[in-house]
């Protein structure tokens, strides 16, 4: 035992279990073809989002440029996805739209978690009237259909991406409260929480060191499914016209414009539409797959 005091040796020891867990995750994921598809779609999405500016062909087209002589060209080698009504390269716009969607989704989820998770834990752990207040407020928010609520908020604040993101965060946080509160309630009764109290852990320590880490699995599953749905909702708002405003290369907004040019100039709406489809489907499938893994039963 004394010999293993080298830093590398210790680090490797500590990571041994994690490597084993990783292998188990890969194994379980690979058993479900749908999860693999989901994982693949999401990976592609992430890579494109990260590599964005490096793989587009017409950077200028992304926002401002107008080339009326190129307008409404069908897909060709120059423009794999065709051009839109002002001559912009749709391929470049879809790619950058990926990056935009990623940012939108991430911000929404993070704000929602930031509000929802602490509230959920406090409600679940402290209980009593605090729990009642928090849960009833949550219920009120949850009783209003998401998109409607988002529309109402954006209507009040005015259109634009920032307001759309704010509105959607407000729609999303209650879901996390519900999830975390439920999980906290069940964790509170577990033996190891009792054990923590018996060794003298303070309330804060129990919450942060024992309860929170055990909530991460359902949170991750929910977050991955929510990513897809948040992107979809943002696109909805963009489609209606209250989300991203032109000339932002947001998929929903692109479909909105493209709709008017169907069916002759089908490529304008189709490619952004496909992008949404693949992204949302991918996140949903991945979320499903993650749920299978992170569920305690699959831990041996």
């Amino acid at each position: 035992m004394k010999g293993k005091s080298s830093v590398l040796g210790r680090w490797r020891e500590e990571r041994e279990s994690q490597t084993r867990s990783l292998k188990l995750i890969v194994y379980t994921l690979s058993r479900s073809p749908l999860s693999v598809i989901g994982f693949f779609c999401v990976s592609v999405f992430l890579i494109i989002a990260l590599m964005g500016p490096m793989i587009i062909t017409y950077p200028g087209d992304v926002k401002g440029a107008v080339h009326m002589d190129q307008k409404l060209r069908p897909p060709s080698s120059n423009h794999p996805f065709g051009t839109d009504e002002v001559g912009r390269d749709i391929y470049s716009r879809v790619i950058m739209g990926t990056r935009l969607s990623f940012q939108i989704g991430l911000i929404i989820i993070f704000i929602a978690m930031g509000i929802g998770v602490p509230l959920g834990i406090i409600a679940g752990y402290v209980g009593g009237w605090l729990n009642e207040i928090i849960m009833r407020v949550t219920d009120i928010f949850l009783s209003i259909p998401g998109l409607l609520l988002a529309l109402a908020i954006v209507g009040a604040l005015g259109p634009g991406i920032k307001n759309a993101m704010l509105a959607l965060s407000i729609v999303w946080w209650p879901g996390y409260v519900r999830l975390v509160q439920g999980k906290t309630l069940s964790l509170r009764e577990e033996s190891f929480v009792e054990a923590a109290k018996s060794i003298g852990a303070s309330k804060l320590r129990v919450i942060f060191s024992h309860i929170l880490p055990n909530c991460t699995s359902p949170i991750i599953v929910k977050a991955s499914m929510d990513m897809g749905m948040a992107i979809l909702f943002a696109a909805n708002l963009g489609f209606i016209g209250v989300g991203a405003q032109p000339p932002e290369p947001e998929w929903g907004a692109m479909i909105s414009t493209g709709r008017n040019y169907l069916p002759d100039h089908w490529w304008m709406a189709t490619f952004p539409g496909l992008a949404i489809l693949i992204t949302v489907l991918g996140f949903n499938l991945l979320g499903d797959g993650l749920r299978d893994i992170l569920d305690p039963q699959s831990r041996i």
């Binding site: 033996s191 190891f192 018996s198 852990a201 060191s209 305690p296 831990r299």
Partner: protein
């Protein structure tokens, strides 16, 4: 046999159950209904009972994981229910518990190292290097190797998890260990192993044990003194051998008779109790065992609660047959 380390006086714990949605009719679950006993330094004391007896609640109330309804628990002659929060935190170093289910008593997200180190971090603020040494020591005491240190609970067997729980409990050098069904989650062939280990640990580290179990074989193997509980009360108490070889209370007799013995000859006459254990919300009047008692005398058992009768061999029983 020195002065008592722990003394429990007339301890009661009632839970409030709200039945009926609108009227809010309240019912009391009298889980622990007035028990008194003491444990001497170095003793092994056993609380025996089936479900509903209240024995697990007693453990939690003694540790003050839940607050009592009435009664005192004296440690070194001081009532722990009068302690402030910081005094209670100090008190926690003296009494620790080994939990029943090793699979859920360890945080699945913490490595063995983190779980065992936690008490040290909370109470002594031990630094990283020292922490590692202390944890290694503790693991060695319980017979686990250093390679287990960074494993997660799900990678360990039931017996190993149990030992991690013991290491964690020992980290603060407690004087009293409460063991809640320490072997029920283990395989039969290793149960004895665990108990032998616990016994040697007791000698080495000068510990006092409070065993809680429904398994009479475990209790008989480990405890010098026992208290038999039924529906929240102690109905018989005294030296283990005295009680098990000649039980006085009809419930104790039935309990002893019910244990299935792994041997060729099965006892001819077995005592069977009628019916089920009554629910703790509807505790029978008078002697609470009268609804199932094969030796019931008559009306007195239904109406009057029996007093404690003491005997010269140090045992006591609560039964009208002996009054």
């Amino acid at each position: 046999m020195a002065e008592p380390l722990l003394e429990v006086k007339n301890l009661k714990k009632y839970f409030l159950l709200r039945k009926g949605s609108l009227q809010g009719r309240r019912e009391n679950v009298r889980a622990v209904d007035g028990i008194s006993f003491f444990i001497g330094c170095g003793d092994s004391f056993g609380l025996v009972g089936e479900s509903g007896s209240g024995k697990t609640t007693v453990a939690r109330v003694i540790l003050r994981l839940i607050e009592p309804t009435e009664g005192e628990v004296l440690w070194d002659r001081r009532d722990i229910y009068k302690f402030s929060e910081s005094e209670m935190k100090e008190m926690r170093r003296n009494m620790q518990m080994i939990f029943q289910d090793p699979h859920s008593s360890l945080n699945p997200r913490k490595t063995v190292f983190k779980s065992v180190a936690e008490p040290l971090i909370i109470h002594e603020g031990v630094r990283r290097r020292m922490l590692r040494e202390r944890v290694e020591e503790l693991l060695e005491i319980v017979g686990l190797k250093g390679e287990h240190m960074f494993r997660y609970p799900h990678e360990l067997s039931g017996g190993q998890k149990q030992r991690v729980g013991i290491a964690r409990a020992l980290s603060l050098h407690p004087k009293l260990l409460i063991l809640d069904e320490p072997t029920s989650a283990l395989d039969v062939s290793v149960q004895a192993q665990m108990l032998i280990f616990l016994e040697s640990l007791q000698e080495r580290m000068n510990l006092t044990y409070l065993y809680i179990s429904h398994n009479l074989a475990v209790i008989r193997y480990t405890c010098d003194t026992i208290a038999v509980m039924y529906l929240g009360k102690i109905i018989e108490m005294g030296g283990t051998e005295f009680i098990f070889s000649s039980p006085r209370h009809p419930y104790t007799k039935a309990l002893v008779s019910a244990v299935p013995l792994p041997q060729a000859e099965q006892p001819e006459r077995m005592i069977f109790l009628e019916g089920d254990i009554p629910s703790a919300t509807h505790i029978p009047s008078g002697c609470r065992f009268h609804t199932r008692c094969p030796e019931k005398i008559g009306a007195i058992c239904e109406e009057v609660e029996p007093h404690t009768q003491y005997f010269s061999d140090g045992t006591q029983v609560n039964c009208h047959l002996y009054q």
